[in-house]
Each structure stands twice: as structure tokens, then as C-alpha cells.
């Protein structure tokens, strides 16, 4: 079975290992991964900034690149949201593009949701001894209604102990341009997130959103360098049992 | 064009929203309460708001309870909605117990009523309905029952019949608002005493309305 990888801009540039991890996990599960080299970004940063004309241009490029794929998988919830929910809105006034956008919406999946709900797998063959906490990113949880799936994948990790932490569903304060435009408020939010994670005693904080990861891990590196946050895909891929 | 017409025209000329059918109205858990449970629920909700419920066997029992409250609270002067409330002889408080009872019917004008209501230690009124859901009283205000009696004095004593106790607000609204021509000029739901948490989120009772609420429920129908 073929799966087309959508590797978001943040992953492509800043954290390519997440993309590699996604490829590894899917390949291990017997999927044939396709990667369209023409892909760049879903356009979310432009859209969120209000630059709809520019975002439209990017959306059309995305649709051209991915338009024929039966199944697209991405390790970023907010990007999947952008494609699913905002592309049709963005292209409302251009009927043929709108139609293609609507079609695409049904064929794009967030990685953990794809593995658990479509491939029906919760044990990817990983092992980790330690305590693990999970941050529920806004677009993953409230945008896509994905919560059980990452937790099931974590539960499927041999030896890993899932630890709850306070306000795990609260926003981490990234919000794209927000973190740069309103730094003090953003800091107050990420500080709380980090404090709650640390208080839980978990060894590592997992999440499914590259933006949140940049924010939280950047904050941890500056302020609590002994603590780490990781993308769920990277964590699983790096902890796969050697066959 | 007059303002009204301008505003309505702007609204009417807007693109119409599609109206969708409403989903089923969700049920409330209180709807299945039987009388016993309603009384229990009413009491626990009311006392949670520091209100006090007394169950009186009959109207004589109710009068005794009323006198007990008056003694315990040291009350001397009252405004009462009428001389007999659900059969309870309020007038006797004045004639037999030497307390000062003012009945609005006996007052000449609004200002006298205001003076009396603001000066009284307590307002004694009927309650036309009660709602178990939240320990709430429902009062119809009309020429037999002025509004100020249950809001101006620092204490409110309400006398009601158990037959007027209902599970949820809708039961009461159905009755009060049934005939559009008979809707009272004011109908109020009253739940416990007046309260506020506006300073530091610290709650206290008796901001502008009564500090204490007593409900005497007559069980005999």
C-alpha cells in the first residue's frame, strides 16, 4: 500500500529527523512511502498572518503536488487541519480548485491517527524504560479530535509508563507568529507547560506537533536543559526494538 | 426613514442564513423526581445557598414555625403580602403577638409602600411555586402581591404549599406563561438570599436583597 508523505516546512528545515521517523514507522508497517520533492509547505503561516492571496498560491501548489494521491500522511496536526479545513474555505470562490480541495480533505491524515485508526496498529515494536507524558496540541486535539490515538501508541511501547500531567490540554503558547509578536504572554504559557511537565516526574514529553516542539524544547533547552520533549514519531522510531 | 425602519431594513436585506432543525431537547435528570425526592432536592439546594426549609403539617403548624423564626431572629416589624397567606393567619402576628405587620392594601400610595418595605425587619410573602431543581421559589407579582416585599427587607419568609413544588423551571413556566393575556407584569425566580462575590471572589450574603431566606412548606393539601 502506498502512502504519500507530507513533510511540513518546520520538519523539512528544522527537524528532518521527524520526517525520517515517519518514513521509518510507516515502512516498518509495510507501507510503500512516496515523497513528492516538489512539496514545500501547506501555507499555514501565511494564512494565519492574514495573507490569503499568498496562502492561496501555496495551497494551489500543494493541491497540484498531492492532488492525485489516495492517501497522504503527515506528522503535523496543524498542517493537516490547514489542508482539511482551511483549503476549502480559502478556495471557496474558485469552484474547480474548491472541488479539488474538498476531495483532498478526505485523503489526508495525521500520522498517529493513520497508524491507529487506518492501519489498526498500536504496537509499532518500540521499547522504552521510563516515564512518558503527552502534550495535547491544540490542532491535534481540538482541531482534529485526536487524543486516544497517540496515547494508544504510547501504551503500546513496551516498558513505557504513561504519566498524566496538569493541564496537558492547555495551549503551549506557540501559535506561530504569536510567540514572536507577544513574547511575554507566550513565555508565561510555555513556562506553565514546562513546569507542569517537570512536576509530573516524566522523563520525556511527547507530542504530535512540530510547532509545539520547537517552542517547548527551545524553552526547555534554555531553562531546563536536562529535560526533553520529542515528537512521538521520533520517539517511537528511535526506540524500535532491534530485530 | 425612521430609525426603526432603517434598522429593520438593514437586517431584512441581509442574505438569509439557512435555518436548521433543532436537535432533540436534552432531558434534565430532575424530571423524574417524585415528591419525596423533590422535597429532599429542594431542601439540599436551598440549604446549599444558606436558605432554610421548614415543613409544616398544616396552617397552624406553619404559624407556630413562623413565630419560632420571628423569635429566633428577633424580628419586630413586617410587611406581608396579605392577611392570610395559604391560610396562615399573618394578621394575628399583629393582633395577637403585638408585632408590627403592614399589609400593602392598607397603604395609600407607592411612597408609603416603599417606606414600609425598606423599614421592615422582614417580608412575609406567599410563594406561588417552588422548583426542586435548584431550591427555587417562583413569585407572581400583581395587585395582590407587590414586588418590594421580598427584596427590600433584610429577611424574606416565604409560605408555600407542597402541591406547588415542581421538578424543573419549565413546569412552572408552562403555567405562568400559558395564557399570553394573563402573563403577570413581573414573575421572578428567587433562589436563596442575595449574594455577591465581586470583591476578591469572596462570597457573602445580603448585598442589596435579603440576607436570609426561610421557606415554610405546608404539607397538607
Amino acid at each position: 500500500m502506498k502512502v504519500s508523505l507530507f513533510i511540513p516546512c518546520t520538519v523539512d528545515i528544522m527537524m528532518p529527523e521527524i520526517g525520517v521517523a515517519a518514513h521509518t514507522l510507516l515502512s516498518n508497517l509495510g507501507m510503500q512511502t512516496i515523497y513528492h520533492k516538489e512539496q514545500t509547505c501547506c501555507g499555514q503561516p501565511l494564512f494565519n498572518a492574514g495573507c490569503r492571496d499568498e496562502a492561496k498560491r501555496v495551497a494551489k501548489h500543494f493541491i497540484e503536488v498531492f492532488g492525485e494521491d489516495e492517501c497522504i500522511v503527515s506528522p503535523a496536526g496543524s498542517c493537516v487541519c490547514m489542508v482539511k479545513y482551511h483549503y476549502p474555505e480559502l478556495l471557496e470562490d474558485e469552484p474547480s480548485w474548491h472541488k479539488r480541495a474538498c476531495g483532498l480533505a478526505g485523503r489526508i491524515h495525521e500520522l498517529s491517527q493513520y497508524i491507529v485508526d487506518v492501519l489498526k496498529v498500536t504496537d509499532v515494536g518500540a521499547k522504552y524504560t521510563g516515564k512518558v507524558a503527552y502534550h495535547e496540541s491544540c490542532h491535534v486535539l481540538r482541531g482534529l479530535n485526536i487524543s486516544d490515538q497517540p496515547k494508544k501508541l504510547i501504551a503500546g511501547v513496551e516498558g513505557a509508563q504513561f504519566v498524566e500531567f496538569d493541564n496537558s490540554t492547555a495551549c503551549c503558547g506557540f501559535g506561530g507568529e504569536f510567540a514572536i509578536g507577544y513574547p511575554e504572554i507566550s513565555e508565561a504559557m510555555v513556562r506553565d507547560k514546562a513546569a507542569n511537565f517537570i512536576k509530573s516526574g516524566a522523563d520525556v514529553l511527547l507530542l504530535c506537533e512540530p510547532g509545539c516542539l520547537l517552542n517547548i524544547s527551545g524553552y526547555l533547552h534554555r531553562n531546563h536543559p536536562q529535560k526533553t520533549a520529542r515528537h512521538l514519531a521520533s520517539f517511537l522510531a528511535d526506540n524500535l526494538k532491534k530485530v | 426613514m425612521p430609525v426603526r425602519e432603517e434598522i429593520l431594513e438593514r437586517l431584512n436585506s441581509a442574505t438569509k442564513s439557512q435555518n436548521v432543525d433543532r436537535p432533540a431537547k436534552p432531558t434534565l435528570s430532575e424530571i423524574t423526581l417524585n415528591r419525596e425526592q423533590m422535597i429532599q432536592r429542594f431542601e439540599s439546594e436551598l440549604s446549599g445557598r444558606t436558605g432554610v426549609l421548614y415543613q409544616a403539617g398544616d396552617k397552624e403548624d406553619a404559624l407556630r414555625i413562623l413565630l419560632d423564626i420571628i423569635t429566633a431572629e428577633g424580628l419586630k416589624s413586617f410587611v406581608a403580602s396579605s392577611e392570610k397567606i395559604h391560610g396562615v393567619d399573618i394578621a394575628s402576628l399583629g393582633s395577637k403577638n403585638g408585632l408590627s405587620v403592614t399589609i400593602p392594601k392598607d397603604l395609600a400610595d407607592r411612597d408609603s409602600l416603599r417606606d414600609a418595605a425598606f423599614a421592615a425587619d422582614a417580608g412575609i410573602t406567599s410563594a406561588d411555586f417552588a422548583v426542586a431543581e435548584t431550591g427555587t421559589l417562583g413569585l407572581i407579582f400583581n395587585h395582590n402581591h407587590p414586588r418590594l416585599l421580598s427584596i427590600a427587607p433584610p429577611l424574606h419568609i416565604a409560605i408555600m404549599s407542597v402541591k406547588d413544588l415542581y421538578p424543573v423551571y419549565e413546569n412552572v413556566m408552562e403555567i405562568v406563561f400559558k395564557d399570553t393575556k394573563k402573563i403577570p407584569s413581573q414573575f421572578s425566580f428567587i433562589t436563596g438570599p442575595s449574594a455577591t462575590s465581586d470583591i476578591q471572589g469572596i462570597e457573602f450574603k445580603g448585598m442589596h436583597g435579603p440576607k436570609k431566606v426561610f421557606v415554610i412548606m405546608i404539607m397538607q393539601e
Binding site: V20, T24, N28, G30, T33, Y35, H36, T40, G43, F47, N48, G50, C51, R52, E54, R142, C171, G173, F178, A179, G181, I185, S186, E187, M189, G218, H221, R222 | E6, I7, R10, L11, A14, R22, P26, L28, E133, F141, N142, H143, L148, I151, A152, F177, P184, S185, Q186, F187, F189, I190, T191, S194, T196, S197, D198, I199, Q200, M207, H208, G209
Partner: protein, 490 residues
Amino acid sequence: MHSHVNKFIETAREELKNEPSQMFLLMVSLGAPILRQIGMSSFPDIAAAESYSRAIRADVIARLPELLEEFEKNAKARGAKVLWAQNAAEANNIILDIANRGDVSYVMKGKSMITEEIGLNDHLIKNGVEVFETDLGEVITQNLNLHPFHLVGPAINVPPEKISEVFLKKGLIKKASTDPVELGGGARKYLRDKFRNLQMGIVGVNMAVAETGTIINVENEGNIRLIKSSPKTLVAIMSLEKVVPTIKDAIYMTRMLTRNCTGQKITSYVSMDTGPKKPDEQDGPKELFIIILDNGRSEIYRDFKTREILKCIRCGACLNTCPVYTKIGGYPYGATYCGPVGQVLTPMLAGIESTADLYRACTLCGMCKQICPAGIDHPSLLLSYRARQIAIKNQKGKKTMQSRGENAMAGLISLGMSHGWLWNFGLKITRPLMNSLAKDGYIGNIPMGAQGWFGCRDLRAIPSKTFHETWNDLPSLPEPSGNASKKEDS
């Protein structure tokens, strides 16, 4: 409408450092969800309860003009005088006029955000009519001249010492106190005689029932009931979206309002007035004026996208769950309405161009949308305002965001995002530039732009290869069964 949104960032910074504010906001953020959960627990199916209230508000929006006319007809049939006002000035003058005709020297007011929005108090005072706020929170903000900190508890954060100071000065208390009971008691005593002698009262309207012409007010303190009982003249002012179809809808919405607002199952008082008093009644208003106010709402309605803002029932649940509001409190929003409701409403009332921080200081986390009992999609509205702002700037030739530089950036970025080769090329140039600033694999600061990131965070250095560049080197991984799976370019 008066707004000081231009001070948003500055005020937010102050509030983040203000300990009493932070203490309250923590209390609100921790306590409110619990209280709401308890309040909503009567509904065996909370999601169904929310769907129903959202459907009621959607119905109101779909039939707004029709419902307003029905309300007016039924209110008038019961003797209420229904007046329409286009804007703040008209409404203020109508009310002043009523006060002058009645020759009143003072009025008393229930808590009403619409009256704050239109600046009623200032207008009356300027024209010789004294105004006494009666809701304790409003008494405090009136005397201290503060904007509301919270939709429902406007002065909840104010330290008792400050209240004591001003109450002492204004004669509400005889000796200093930090006890809320004593302070409240002082306000009660101070206002008592004024209630008793009141000739004209002003209240807002929580709900106007089309079916019966009834106006409904919810409150805990009793000041509104006193205002609706004592004086001969009552003015009730409502913005036009406050209408609900039926009395059953109204009581349903009342439940949702109180439970989403403070978690209370119901407020101490819910008073429902249908027309003025009847001739033989001894108290209650002889004259009831109901003012239906537009003040920008009909324009909001005509805009199909923004129309849903009018669903709001002013419960404040959005504030309590907003991660930004619960860090900065109400002051930065600089207007009558704060939190997410302020973010969606104020730009439409005060103008998109002067309220940028309101729709940009948001992570689009969706908590407000999730909890809203009226069904408003705040994030979608805020995104649309951002787009409108850019479109306005483009139209004016001012071009996107802050500067021509940023506009060029946006254009360049979108160009790069539309062409794979350009993307990769652009990266090859930027990467070494960024990484020249890295130390031990992390960037701690950059000299150009995006300073906000680095205040409290590092950024890992850009890896030497993008995923694009790595793809070709990725091995085909064998499946557990031993068959090599393939990876494919295209």
C-alpha cells in the same frame, strides 16, 4: 466605542508582572472549569445540552428581524414603550430625554455592558443627571474609574485596600476596612435610601422574549429587582441580538448562561417583566421604556461571516478558558468587552485597523470555540479579521503587515512555497546565515527580527540537510517479514 487597544502590549506586560492580577487569573483558570463542570452536571448529556443552546442562538440569528418585530409587538401590546436607537448618541439622548421629562436628579443602574459600551454614564453626568451604579463590582469600577477586569466580575481583582480607600473617600464607609462583608455592607447602606427614593432606573436585558414581549434579567445581588420595583420609570436597554424566540427557549438559555458563567446552577434572582405594572399594582414601573439599540450590529449582521458574533449571550465562559486572557486579565483589551468575546466584537465596533492586537494576540487554540454555549467560532473570525486587515492595507497601498519589508517577505515566502526548487534554493542560502549564530548546536539570538522568540527560548541550529536533501539517502527498510518495502520518488 471607546477603546484603548493601542496599549494592549504595554498593559499586558504590566499585568503579567502584577501579582494580585496573576493570583486571580490563576484562581479563575483553575476554578472556573471545575465550577462549570459541576453546574453542567444536571445534564446527563452535556454535549446534547450544548448543541441545543447553540441551535437556539443559530435560530435567533436566522430569524433576527422577524423575532425583533414579534418582540416589539408583544411588548407594546402589554404597554411597554419600545424605542429604537441607531447608535450610542441616539440611545444616550433618548435616556437623557426621559430623565429630563421626569425631572430626575439621579438614576440608578444595574450592571449593563451595553450602557458601558455607549458611555451612558458620562453623557448623563455631563448633562446634570447623577448616576449611581449599584452592582458592587460596578460601584467599585465606577469609583476607581477602571475598565472591567472580567466580564462578570469587573473588579474582582481589585485589592480590598484600594476599595477601602476610595469608599472611605466617597463616604460609603466610615472607617477603613479590608473585609469584603464590611465593604459590601457600606455600599448597601450608602445606596439604600437612594433605592427607596428612586424615580428612574436603568437596566440592561439578558434576554428579550419574542413570544411574549418579556424582558429577563439575571442577577445575584438584588439591585436589579429593586430598580425594577421601586421607581415609577424604568428604562431597559438592549442591543438587538438579545432576543430569543420563546419563553421556554429563554429559560433554557438562562440555565446555560448561569452554568457557563460562574458555574452557578442559577442566579439568586431571575426576574421577568412583561410590560409596565398594571394600573392596580402598588409598585413596579408605571412607564417601561425598552430601547432596542443597533450601534453597529445591523452591519455585523449584514456581513455573513461576522453575523455569528451576535449569538453571544455574554456568559464569559470563553474568558475563563482562554490561555491568553487567563495570563493578562481584562485591562489590555482596552474596551468594554474582554477576552475572546472582546476579540471578536470590538474590532467590528471600533474598526479593524485600530484593533490589530485583539485579533493577533491569539494562538488559535480553540478553547473558546469548544466551550461556547452559543456556538461561536472565534478562531475563524479572528483569522478573517487578520485577512481583512491585510486586504485593507493592500488596498491603501500600505501593503501587508507592518512594512514594505514584511510584505516583500510574505511575497517571497509564498513564491518559495509555490516552487520546490526555489524553496530548496532559498534554504541553501539562509541556513549557513542562521547557523553562523549557533553555539553548541543551538541559536540563542539573532540580530534581525523575530527577537520575541529568543527572549526565553533557544532554537536548535538548522540541520545540515533538509528532509528534501535526506530523502535520497534514506534506506529502503526491510519489513519484519523480510520483504524489502520500497520508497518512491515522484
